[in-house]
């Protein structure tokens, strides 16, 4: 790959945009900042597409295998003679795919925000944060070094924090941003510990070298890391499970998902970008990045698979009960990411067995389009209704025809109805699961039915159902809001036809896949059943849903309360960490540690006060002490003389 400077521009331009808008935006570009940011992103997207074209069709292949190419390597921090953080760009099929997705979705969101955030007094700040996020995310996917990835990983986290808390005078937004940051920070602790183990045992942080050393069973590094063990589990498994914990935090996998629904406090376009299409798939990306090592160690890959399927199931059940449309979408995101995770988990490294990996990446690709479309559509709805609650909506298809059609397309795509994008990727995932783990396949199939149900519950509640008595106040939204919807809807229709397996596979060699009609019958029928059920319950206003929820009773309530996971966390933080650790620690510090010092001073002062009477200045007293001393000495001399 030639050293094209435009690849450098991909992360650099958003950074410049962030600096300019962040430093001078409030004063000079508070109105024009949005347009500036969008134009910059357009340039980035063009660069990304050119890079992708160049990589996939011209320079990326060597002997039919896509290569890992590292560009612009620079030693950033030397830890020891062999371990250093080298900043560089890694181009391989998944990173190139990711830069396309990230820049493209980000461009759509930038464009959409022009209309959605119109009139916001901190518009330049908003665009500065968006640019910061885009920079960090692009840096993340291009990282050639695991520590470099960790750096951008944290930066992505903080941009997410800033954007969730964008409406900082709303206490709920501040609380949500804090929660998101702390929960992912807690998960990142695992990531960090994993890096420490890998760095110590493999003596490198570079992805290429790391993978090479650890997947060669004969190498001394591999032997060292597999033979070292702690609590009966090898260091390699520990490292990978810990790294995966970091990924699970970012990707909102059970039980670290609790921050994602709350993160919906941020502006809706932000949710589309960060909490649907890009940042939350970083965990999937991380596992995919280290996939050769994961597939070398079977245990950790199994954990990935089961955490993935469990998250997919739980999230889908909760999504059926939520009434805030953004929260439904948030749980649906979690569920779909669970799909990507278990697809990786059931995959193997090479050849036909690598189907799961390819399917996971494919789903990541298609999901980015229809999920961001769903969020932007929801944004348009919220923009109109000024509420997130389903009960305030209904019959909106009359007021917002464009949004309605786009939203429908996205719902069909996520439900897996052919020929929309989601059908193809889900199909591959289920095939991979079917070949490797029937249990996971069964649950995956069930979840796909649930997905169709809750998505169409959402769709019918918003656009059909009752007439919510809304008046068309300001129309459907500006052109800048409609255009991204239309573009994304087009992508959601056609993305499935991309011959994905030719380009993106775990070992870089193309894979032959095709649609197996017999196999497709079950998932499609289930999805159609889900849609039919949703139509029956929610298309027209009726009391069936209420009766069903009443019949389900405690089960429904448990799902509605998100299986009390938030309450459990609250108990741990409030009762255990604050009251049982923090408070006693503060008490000990005040009374024991400091008390010791004060006690020392107090004792000294007391002793001084007690003996200062001896220095009375009275001759009589001194004479008395003198003679008493003599007498004492005399007694001692006589006594000890003997």
């Amino acid at each position: 790959m030639p050293n094209h400077f435009y690849i450098l521009l991909i992360p650099l331009l958003p950074l410049v945009s962030f600096l300019v808008l962040g430093l001078f935006g409030r004063k000079y570009f508070n109105i024009s900042g949005g347009v500036m940011g969008t134009i910059v992103l357009l340039a980035v997207t063009v660069c990304a597409f050119v890079t992708a074209y160049d990589y996939f069709f011209i320079t990326g292949k060597l002997n039919g295998i896509y290569q890992h190419i590292v560009l612009f390597k620079y030693t950033w921090l030397q830890f020891s003679s062999s371990v250093s953080i080298d900043m560089g760009f890694l181009l391989d099929p998944i990173s190139v795919m990711m830069i396309v997705i990230v820049s493209f979705i980000s461009l759509m969101v930038h464009l959409f925000s022009l209309g959605y955030m119109k009139g916001e007094e901190r518009l330049a700040t908003y665009y500065a944060f968006l640019s910061l996020f885009t920079f960090s995310m692009l840096g993340l996917v291009l990282s050639s070094n695991i520590f470099q990835l960790y750096i951008f990983w944290e930066l992505v986290g903080v941009s997410s924090y800033l954007l969730i808390g964008f409406y900082f005078d709303k206490p709920s937004a501040v609380a949500a941003s804090k929660k998101a940051f702390i929960v992912t920070r807690f998960a990142d602790l695992g990531f960090l510990a994993g890096i420490l183990i890998l760095a110590f045992n493999a003596e490198t942080l570079d992805f290429g070298t790391l993978i090479e050393r650890l997947t060669n069973g004969q190498s001394s590094w591999s032997i060292a890391i597999t033979s070292a063990s702690f609590m009966g589990i090898s260091a390699l498994t520990w490292a990978l499970v810990l790294v995966f914990a970091g990924g699970a935090g970012k990707s909102a996998m059970f039980p670290l998902h609790i921050w994602l629904p709350d993160a919906m406090e941020g502006p809706t376009p932000v949710s589309a970008l960060i909490h649907a299409a890009t940042m939350v798939v970083a965990g999937v990306y991380l596992v995919a990045r280290l996939f050769p090592v994961f597939s070398f160690d079977g245990i950790s890959l199994n954990i990935v698979a089961y955490v993935g399927i469990l998250s997919a199931l739980i999230a889908a059940i909760i999504a059926c009960t939520q009434t805030d449309i953004k929260r439904v979408l948030a749980y649906s995101t979690m569920s779909q990411i669970g799909y990507m995770m278990f697809a990786l988990g059931v995959s193997k490294y090479s050849g036909e067995d690598g189907l799961g990996y390819m399917a996971s990446m494919f789903h990541l690709f298609t999901h980015a389009f229809f999920k961001s479309l769903l969020f932007l559509g929801a944004g348009a709805v919220i923009h109109m209704v000024h509420s997130n609650e389903m009960k305030d909506m209904g019959g909106l298809r009359k007021f917002m025809p464009v949004t309605h059609i786009c939203f429908l397309i996205a719902c069909l795509a996520i439900a897996g109805i052919p020929p929309f994008a989601g059908f193809f990727s889900k199909e591959e995932i289920l095939t991979a699961a079917f070949q490797n783990n029937r249990f996971i396949y069964g649950i995956g199939l069930f979840v796909s039915g649930l997905t169709a149900f809750y998505m169409f519950r959402l769709y019918f509640s918003i656009f059909w159902n009752k007439d919510a008595g809304l008046h068309d106040v300001h129309g459907e939204g500006t052109m800048t809001m409609k255009i991204p919807l239309i573009i994304l809807a087009t992508a959601s229709i056609f993305a499935g036809f991309v011959p994905f397996s030719k380009y993106i596979t775990s070992d870089g060699a193309p894979l032959e896949t095709g649609v197996n009609i017999i196999f497709s019958i079950a998932p499609v029928l289930l999805a159609l059943a889900g849609i039919a059920l949703a139509a029956g319950l929610y298309k027209k206003e009726n009391d069936k849903p209420a009766r069903i929820t009443a019949a389900l009773g405690g089960l429904y309530h448990a799902a509605y309360r998100k299986f009390y996971i938030d309450e459990i966390y609250l108990f741990i933080t409030k009762k255990i960490i604050f009251n049982s650790i923090g408070r006693p620690a503060a008490w000990i510090d005040k009374n024991i540690a400091d008390g010791l010092m004060n006690g020392l001073a107090w004792t000294t002062a007391k002793i001084a006060a007690a003996i200062k009477g001896f220095q009375s200045g009275k001759i009589q007293n001194y004479t008395l002490y003198f003679f008493a001393g003599i007498a004492g000495l005399a007694i001692m001399v006589i006594y000890f003389w003997k």
């Binding site: 921090l77 944290e154 903080v158 005078d169 010092m597």
Partner: protein, 502 residues
């Protein structure tokens, strides 16, 4: 470069301040003096760089010396290595920023600026001394003015705090002095030969192991008190919270680093055997300081207490890095000293700016300030983000280097300590985000706040200055790493039993 300039300059500035009339003149002189200090520190950095790149690999550069007290073999002997240069730069940054934030001191301004500049002379002297007696002399020089700064210009329970700080630091000094004298009497090469205080000479000698075992605790604990070694950290919160802003900045930014520097340069460097033997205890105390300090911080309600306790936690990383005794971990410890110095100074500066306007430091009473004073609030948030280890800012680089280095020490219990230290960054995130979320975000809690002004030019300049340092390390840590690594290598050679990565 003649290093004595670093001592001469503050002294001349102090003299000039004495001759000045009126606040305007005094602060102009103090500002100029501190500005030249910074310039000088940069000149030193450049010259040092040139000398090193021209192949001069001597442990200490720019050495000079005069006999001071011949019969005890006490000399004025100065010289710098990369570690000292880094600390000198830090001092220059903090002092200039300190002068800027004290711009409108009204009571006894002449004395205030005099003491502030005078403190910097003590700090520079400490960092350039190669003679242990001189080093102790400068250490003392940097204690007394703090007593006055807190006692006179402080707030709250200032007499108590000033006394507590001075007494505890004096106790530390007493321990240090005992250790130094003990060391001195074990430096004779032949029986009855001359003793020496010279750092470089002592480093060439083999101090008897028994003497090391005896005197290492004196020196380490003595210096440790300065850098908030658990359980002798309690002067930190009281001292900081009562001190005026500039004194807090100096105290946390530089004073606590005197201790860390001393632990490294004197205790560990000169008595490597004892350092190895006592390492488990150091690591234990450091880990307690880190994690316990973080939890105690979480429960604080006063912004200055929050930053003071978080300093206890963050300085624990310095001691942890030293205790782990690997090249990387000690490099990390030095980086953490520089990073924490800048960051905590910035944090105290921001708190001071908020306090001078709202007249409260209680987290519960503040709120929504981001809207009213965007600049100060942004500075506050940035200092917080640096504290919680955001990449791109200096805290991250330093902490990660400490973690990386600590993990290289393969003992299981040390690994556990490392993990606990890593875990503290989560707790740090909790208390920082609580503080940030309540004070600058959320709704405005008091309508009086709406009329408050944002940062003035001098406050802005101070914040930008410190933040520039933070960014310079955070974005491009390689220069700092390169600067201090040779110095650390020499310490590690001394340690002999260097635990390096396979």
């Amino acid at each position: 470069m003649n290093l004595s300039l670093l001592l001469l300059l503050p002294v001349i500035t102090c003299l000039a301040i004495v001759c000045c009339k009126g606040l305007k003149q005094v602060r102009a002189v103090a500002f100029t003096g501190a500005g030249i200090q910074l310039l000088l520190a940069f000149v030193l950095l450049v010259l040092f760089w040139q000398e090193r790149s021209s192949g001069n690999a001597a442990p200490m550069l720019f050495k000079s010396g005069y006999v001071w007290f011949a019969s005890f073999n006490i000399n004025y002997h100065v010289g710098v290595d990369g570690i000292s240069v880094a600390m000198i730069l830090l001092t220059a940054f903090v002092v200039l920023a300190g002068v800027l934030v004290s711009w409108n001191t009204e009571t006894m301004f002449k004395e205030f600026f005099f003491l502030l500049i005078f403190l910097s002379a003590g700090a520079y002297g400490f960092f350039i001394s190669l003679d242990l007696f001189m080093l102790f002399f400068f250490l003392e020089l940097a204690v007394i003015p703090k007593f006055l700064l807190i006692g006179i210009w402080g707030s709250g329970n200032k007499e108590y705090s000033a006394m507590k700080l001075a007494l505890m630091l004096m106790a530390g000094s007493a321990l240090v002095f005992t250790g130094l004298v003990g060391l001195y009497f074990n430096t004779a090469v032949t029986k009855g030969g001359a003793h020496t205080f010279d750092l470089l000479q002592i480093a060439q000698m083999q101090i008897p192991v028994q003497a090391q075992m005896l005197f290492f605790p004196f020196l380490f604990v003595g210096f440790g008190i300065f850098t908030a070694l658990f359980p002798f950290h309690t002067w930190v919160p009281d001292g900081h919270s009562s001190a005026p802003t500039a004194a807090s900045m100096f105290l946390a930014g530089i004073s606590m680093k005197l201790g860390g520097y001393g632990c490294l340069r004197v205790a560990t460097y000169l008595m490597p055997d004892a350092a190895h033997t006592y390492a488990p205890y150091i690591i234990l105390l450091a880990t307690i300081a880190i994690i316990y300090g973080a939890f105690v911080t979480m429960m604080q309600k006063d912004l200055k207490y929050i930053n003071a306790y978080s300093s206890v936690s963050h300085c624990g990383f310095v001691l942890l890095g030293i205790g782990m005794l690997t090249k990387t971990s000690i490099t990390g410890a030095v980086m953490q000293m520089v990073s924490h110095g800048l960051m905590t100074a910035l944090f105290f500066a921001a708190i001071g700016m908020l306090y001078s306007r709202t007249h409260t430091r209680m987290v519960d009473k503040l709120g929504g300030l981001l809207k009213i004073m965007p600049f100060i609030s942004t500075v506050f948030v940035l200092a917080g983000l640096c504290s919680l280890g955001l990449p791109g800012l200096s805290g991250f680089v330093a902490e990660m280097t400490v973690f990386m280095g600590s993990w290289q020490n393969p003992q299981m219990l040390y690994r556990l300590a490392t993990i606990l230290a890593c875990a503290s960054i989560v707790v740090t995130a909790v208390y920082i985000l609580r503080a940030v979320g309540k004070t600058v975000m959320g709704p405005v809690t008091d309508s009086h706040y709406n009329s408050l002004s944002d940062g003035s030019w001098n406050e802005r300049l101070a914040a930008i200055l410190l933040f520039a340092g933070i960014i310079a390390i955070g974005i491009a840590p390689f220069w700092l790493n390169k600067l201090i690594t040779p110095g650390v290598e020499i310490i590690m050679q001394q340690a002999g039993k260097a635990v390096t990565l396979k």
